[in-house]
Symmetry: C2
Subunit: 200 residues, 2 copies
């Protein structure tokens, strides 16, 4: 569904508010969007509907970041690093723990989720194919690693962003094939384990 | 202050409840400790007093884990890995984000905090001295890395524990001197940035 300018402003406001406070109310979103609560409810009948739209938007942002990384023509290992850097900066995976379990995953969202998985697989396959990446890391591992980085919150937003980049850099070093001192313990997470969080 | 058996049971209950829900109430703690709310209030006059005791206990657990790692006689790099593993398993740093800002840091807590720093420094200095560890990682970096791992929560407690160990293993690989592809970006976090979280 195309997003109008008005929708865009509301989605950006909802996104900003949720990134600061996962339990944010509709009135907090309306305040951030500089509109009345009534106006917000005319666009989205309830919190669930708004959160669904944020979720949809979030998946589209992720897919766009992935496609940009694939079309950059950089070497695949650098492309993976760039991609994860943008995902961390954008807060895409920081929203997952807020939104999971609050939104009904309908067919459209499920299709976007599959697109997101597909684009990640292409980036991951290329990075693995370059020989630079350790083989024992799954797609779901990447998701959880970026979520962990997204949990960090210290001082100002700028300092938080810089520290997240710092730990991404450390994790990328750990993801290199040459860094692997032994096989990572425990089975890697499966997609099913991640999607189970979305069951309401 | 010596901890009585009764205190121990209450502290363990409070710890378990807070690890599940950082916003837990006194009555949730009383339920977990299988005691009446009145009984809990006779021990701790208010939530702040109970949280202070949890904080004190948490720092003592951390110091004990650190001292055990130092006395193990293992090689210093393995000792660092073992220590962080126990810290992750115990949830020590998972409690920090819940407790920071809710407890007044009195002189006794501050002294325990300094002891915790001192024991970490000894472990860190030894690991650096072994040549196995990259030099551009600070004590506060370790704290924040373990906190990030502690944010992970997926499926059962057992699965969560296994996945936390998985990501600690990856991060330890990234912490090796040989893994460093470049200096980590951004200045490392300072102790002051971490202690600022405790200002009420």
């Amino acid at each position: 569904m195309p997003v109008t300018t008005g929708d865009r402003a509301v989605l950006d406001a909802a996104r900003a508010v949720l990134l600061r406070d996962p339990r944010a109310s509709m009135s907090a979103v309306a305040r951030e969007a500089r509109m009345g609560v009534g106006g917000l409810y005319r666009r989205y009948a309830n919190k669930q509907e708004l959160f669904r739209a944020v979720c949809d938007d979030n998946l589209r942002r992720y897919i766009a970041l992935g496609e940009a990384a694939l079309s950059d023509g950089e070497d695949p290992w650098a492309a993976l690093g760039e991609f994860l850097g943008h995902v961390v900066d954008d807060g895409v995976h920081q929203l997952t723990p807020c939104l999971a379990g609050t939104v009904v995953v309908d067919d459209d969202l499920a299709a976007l989720g599959e697109q997101a998985n597909a684009v990640t697989d292409r980036i991951l396959r290329a990075a693995r194919g370059s020989g630079m990446m350790r083989p024992d890391v799954s797609r779901a591992d990447l998701t959880l690693l970026v979520e962990q980085i997204g949990s960090l919150d210290l001082g100002s937003p700028e300092r938080t962003a810089a520290l997240r980049r710092r730990y991404l850099s450390l994790i990328l070093d750990g993801l290199r094939a040459g860094a692997a001192s032994r096989r990572l313990p425990g089975p890697p997470p499966e997609d099913d384990e991640l999607s189970a969080r979305w069951v309401i």
